[in-house]
């Protein structure tokens, strides 16, 4: 073993490098600046057969090895980190689950066009309450006849909304943690499948990242990937391989910055010689090169193990963790060598500096990589005391009434107004609509659901009749610029601590919700019934803001100018009765012991999250030894 790539690998590298230099490099600055996706580049890569590098030719792939794929991501990233991740997310995340776990039909229908590059793939696992810990997944899939009905949403999804094929993870058996998650193939364009914000990112700005929203999306039964409950396994296996892609991306970004730094350090003359030959810089360059070589060997070795079908989970985690950690060091040193010049927009090292950061975060944070590596060495951590199955995450805004009105739009508006008046809101008084958010007693806020700028008139009209100030979500102020930046409400913006908050066309990103958690009453108006805002509101109307806002404005209009509001008095938050935990409960006929799904039976080796139904038949009551069948289900009054 020479620890060297083959000639074929190097020829392939040369091809990709030439492509990246010719096709990507000239537009890289523009893509970064304009946050735009390189559609033409991706098309050309597809034509070259590079979107299915590691997949068999019979499924439209190039039939090459994992190392070739790693080299391709590295070489693209060397020029542009964003373009590198487009390939990585498509190959490792969007296509791999189908290649590894798909049926023959699924491979023909979905893998083939992905590998040929006719379609782009993506992978949806992360949610607001499920990142490193997939057990918090809240998207659900309920089997109804021949379809699963998918509801919920995903955030930070690379290649969305460009991609056509999505691997989506959803809960099919609730409340049992990761064992209840299943994987599905979901196509763009299906009814109820929409995209939320395209994120405005620090780096990799040529890649597209968006939110996925599922509203009663009908997923044919045959699009279940693997079996029900295998989702977590599929996700973890996919991420094992995905790490090779991200490691290669980190390596490529760092390699590019390194090369630029070396070149610049030889050109830049200070104290009579190129700065490269100042020992402080030459040592820096030596260290950078050493780190890159280490990272490269880790990555290539993991890719070879994968290709040889040997265990590679730990090695790919080491490669990802190390390559991305040193990538940050290398791009930092590279920028330092450039000095002030490197700090300017348009400089590759400046872009690399920003692009590199994501690689320590996504596809498993480097903290999680260390968890993976340590678990391979140390085995499973000893069981901790107490239950680990989480109850559904508490709403970000605390306990709320969550009353959704029913009936026609007018009826819903009338019920809302009645409820608000019942709570003690006086709509004969009001505050100036330009009152600073932090001082306002009431705020009417617009989200992206408001649409065109002209529609902001509806928000202002409602604010006047509701006696409120005008606010907005962050994108409305920052991206759409409908309002000054000091009027957006959120954790990072202005915090609303007054009494009444109207969220109009706001979906409820967690940073927004955190900014309104002290509001006494939250009203949500949104056409997406699964929008998180409804779980965080006291009153909700599912409907189009363009229809609801004028009705609500009219209903609050008392025909007179609002009297100046008295000084703000904080009203009482509504009492919200505690809800029952979601598990069926069972009690022992031999002693009265209650079996808790969320605790399991540690002494009987029953993992937390195991439902009574899932307990083995031979399981015995831990207190009195009665058999499983001697338990009775706790009945409610209705049951009787």
């Amino acid at each position: 073993m020479l620890f060297k790539t083959t000639e074929a690998h190097e020829e392939f590298r040369a091809k990709i490098r030439a492509f990246a230099e010719e096709e990507v490099k000239p537009i890289a600055f523009m893509l970064d600046k304009e946050n735009s996706f390189p559609h033409e580049v991706v098309k050309k890569m597809a034509k070259n057969g590079w979107l299915g590098i590691p997949y068999p030719k019979e499924y439209g792939g190039a039939g090459m090895d994992a190392l070739s794929y790693a080299i391709a991501v590295e070489e693209l990233s060397r020029v542009d980190g964003g373009t590198g991740v487009i390939l990585s997310a498509h190959v490792s995340l969007g296509s791999y689950p189908i290649a590894a776990f798909g049926t023959e039909e699924q491979k023909k229908k979905y893998l083939m066009p992905l590998a040929k590059g006719e379609k782009l793939g993506a992978f949806g696992l992360t949610e607001p309450n499920a990142g490193s810990d997939a057990g918090g997944t809240e998207t659900t899939a309920v089997l109804e006849g021949d379809h699963y009905i998918l509801n919920g949403g995903k955030i930070f999804i690379t290649n969305a909304p460009i991609a056509e094929t999505y691997i989506v993870f959803a809960v099919t058996t609730p409340n049992i943690g990761t064992k209840g998650i299943s994987a599905f193939i979901v196509e763009k364009g299906w009814e109820g499948f929409e995209f939320g914000d395209h994120y405005d990112k620090l780096g990799i700005r040529s890649s597209s990242t968006a939110e996925l929203i599922f509203n009663d999306v009908k997923v044919p039964k045959e699009n279940l990937l693997g079996k029900e409950g295998q989702g977590f396994k599929i996700a973890m296996a996919t991420l094992d391989g995905g790490r090779i892609g991200i490691a290669s991306q980190a390596l490529g970004i760092a390699q590019g910055a390194f090369e630029h730094a070396v070149e610049y350090s030889k050109e830049r003359i200070q104290f009579g010689k190129p700065i490269a030959f100042q020992q402080v810089n030459s040592f820096k360059i030596a260290d950078m090169a050493t780190k890159l070589r280490c990272a490269r060997f880790l990555i290539y070795s993991a890719a070879e193990l994968k290709e040889a079908h040997e265990p590679y989970g730990m090695e790919s985690a080491m490669a990802k963790q190390y390559a991305s950690d040193i990538a940050l060091e290398v791009v930092n040193d590279a920028l330092q060598i450039f000095g002030g010049t490197g700090y300017l927009k348009g400089m590759e090292v400046e872009r690399a500096y920003r692009d590199a950061k994501i690689t320590t975060i996504y596809e498993g944070t480097n903290e999680i990589q260390r968890v993976v590596i340590a678990s391979h060495i140390l085995g499973k951590a000893p069981k901790e005391d107490g239950g680990v199955v989480k109850k559904p995450a508490a709403a970000a805004t605390g306990a709320r009434k969550k009353i959704l009105f029913k009936g026609t739009a007018q009826e819903q508006v009338d019920q809302l107004v009645e409820a608000l008046k019942g709570d003690g809101y006086d709509f004969t008084v009001g505050i100036d609509k330009d009152t600073p958010i932090v001082e306002a007693d009431r705020v009417v806020s617009a989200g992206k659901g408001i649409g065109e700028k002209a529609n902001m008139k509806l928000i202002e009209a409602l604010a006047v009749q509701a006696g409120a100030a005008v606010g907005s979500s962050r994108p409305v102020a920052e991206t759409l610029k409908y309002l000054p930046i000091d009027r957006y409400v959120g954790m990072s913006g202005q915090k609303f601590t007054g009494n009444l908050y109207f969220a109009c066309g706001i979906s409820g990103a967690s940073q927004h919700l955190k900014g309104i958690k002290d509001a006494t009453t939250i009203v949500a108006i949104n056409k997406n019934k699964n929008a998180p805002i409804f779980k965080n509101a006291d009153y909700g109307i599912v409907g189009d803001v363009l229809e609801i806002l004028p009705l609500l404005t009219k209903a609050l209009d008392n025909g007179k100018e609002k009297k100046p509001a008295p000084p703000r008095v904080k009203m009482k938050r509504a009492t919200v009765l505690k809800e029952a935990d979601p598990f069926d409960r069972y009690v022992c006929n031999g002693c009265g012991y209650e079996y808790h799904t969320e605790l399991g039976d540690p002494d009987g080796d029953i993992a937390p999250g195991t439902t009574y139904e899932q307990l083995p038949e031979e399981w015995l009551c831990p207190l009195c030894g009665s058999a499983k069948i001697d338990f009775v289900k706790v009945k409610t009054k209705e049951d009787k």
């Binding site: 009482k572 009765l577 409960r585 009945k635 409610t636």
Partner: protein, 404 residues
């Protein structure tokens, strides 16, 4: 001398009243005593349903002998093996050596553990088994964990009498009464029936509901419990109470104010809160000092009312012990679905509120009102206003109901 009453044709009450015992189960005060009910059926065979506590053994034996009037005893059906009912078993076995004991497998095990001489003379029955004593046919229905595992109830299909063991029982001695319709039950007995049920069977609501489910399938004419009066009229009244208690649904919208006070300052807060509640129109409330009230009474009231206000001082950086004891008792008895106002007192590091909320949080669906009040030593103007606000919140939250 015997003291018996006829229940219905062929059936006699042969139990006895206990007036001298202070503490039932050596824990619950019984100011008004308790009865140990036993029933004797005279058919072609003679059948005794349960016995009595040893403390009233002499009266019980005299009653049995009087009703048997020289006949031998053929069967002794044991529905419940707790010693307040079975302690006199041994005496019956000695006096009527040919008697056959009828009960469940688990009861047999308990008979051995308690040391009764039951061996070959045992007839084991299980759910759905029947026996005929001549005119009267009975079916046995298991009632596990109401409130012991061996418990069963026996239904006489001939006359619709259900021998219901501890279910539908009550504290208070009968003092000549046999039927619930001979007294003003709602006025004079309900509180003690509730205190009996909630403290003794309260935890086992799900098992009671299971038994009530089975009972719904048979045509019951009369309930013969092991304590308290026999029910032959308005069975729906007591069944409805049981459904409330077993599903932890309060009987009434109202407030139990339970306070602890070392020097009268927390009591002052309780008085202010009570006054505010009355002032605002909420008159259904009861107020108790937890240090002076036996917690079995507090438990009964906690099951009765929809709301609770708990006020307690901090003690050793923790909760004042009598309040803690009451709250842990509620937790152990599975009380759930109540709305609670929490008022703490503390002079330098108030902690009682935190501990109270922790205990409430460990219970099922106990809602703590947002208006938490923290008294520092004595009620200040600000605390006075907060108590007013808490009263508003208690009344306002009464508009909502849990699902039971």
């Amino acid at each position: 001398m015997h003291c018996v009453r006829k229940v219905t044709d062929d059936l006699y009450w042969v139990g006895a009243n206990e007036k001298r015992l202070h503490l039932f189960e050596n824990i619950h005060p019984i100011e008004d005593g308790v009865s140990y009910n036993s029933y004797l059926l005279l058919d072609e065979k003679t059948v005794l349903f349960d016995t009595a506590d040893w403390a009233v053994g002499r009266q019980f034996i005299e009653n049995v002998e009087y009703v048997l009037d020289g006949r031998k005893l053929d069967y002794m059906v044991i529905n419940h093996m707790e010693p307040d009912h079975c302690a006199s078993m041994e005496e019956i076995l000695l006096r009527y050596p040919e008697v056959t004991v009828v009960s469940t497998e688990k009861a047999y095990m308990l008979m051995q553990q308690f040391g009764f001489s039951v061996t070959d003379n045992f007839h084991q029955v299980q759910e759905g088994d029947t026996m005929s004593f001549g005119k009267h046919n009975v079916v046995f229905v298991e009632a596990p964990m109401v409130h012991w595992p061996e418990a069963m109830v026996t239904f006489d299909t001939t006359n619709g009498v259900l021998f219901s063991a501890d279910a539908f029982g009550s504290f208070k001695s009968l003092d000549g009464v046999l039927f619930a319709d001979e007294v003003n039950f709602d006025r004079d007995w309900l509180d003690e029936a509730r205190r009996y049920y909630t403290n003794i069977v309260g935890k086992y609501g799900p098992h009671v509901m299971d038994l009530l489910g089975k009972a719904a399938t048979i045509d019951i004419k009369m309930l013969c419990p092991l304590h308290g009066p026999v029910w032959r009229k308005d069975l729906g009244y007591i069944l409805d109470k049981y459904v409330h208690w077993a599903t932890y649904e309060p009987e009434e919208k109202g407030v139990l104010i339970a306070y602890a006070s070392m020097y009268g300052n927390t009591e002052s807060a309780a008085q202010i809160l009570a006054a505010k509640l009355h002032e605002k129109g909420m008159h259904n409330l009861r107020m108790y000092d937890v240090s002076k009230t036996h917690q079995s009474y507090l438990i009964g009231e906690a099951f009765k009312y929809s709301h609770m206000a708990l006020l307690a001082p901090t003690y050793n950086l923790n909760l004042f012990p009598p309040m803690e004891s009451f709250m842990l008792d509620m937790q152990k008895l599975n009380l759930q679905k109540r709305v609670v106002g929490v008022v703490e007192n503390g002079s330098w590091a108030p902690q009682s509120g935190v501990v109270m909320k922790e205990i409430l949080d460990s219970m099922k669906q106990m809602t703590v009102l947002n208006e938490e009040v923290s008294v520092t030593s004595s009620v200040s103007k600000a605390v006075y206003d907060e108590l007013d606000s808490l009263a508003d919140s208690i009344i306002d939250s009464m508009k909502q109901d849990y699902k039971y």
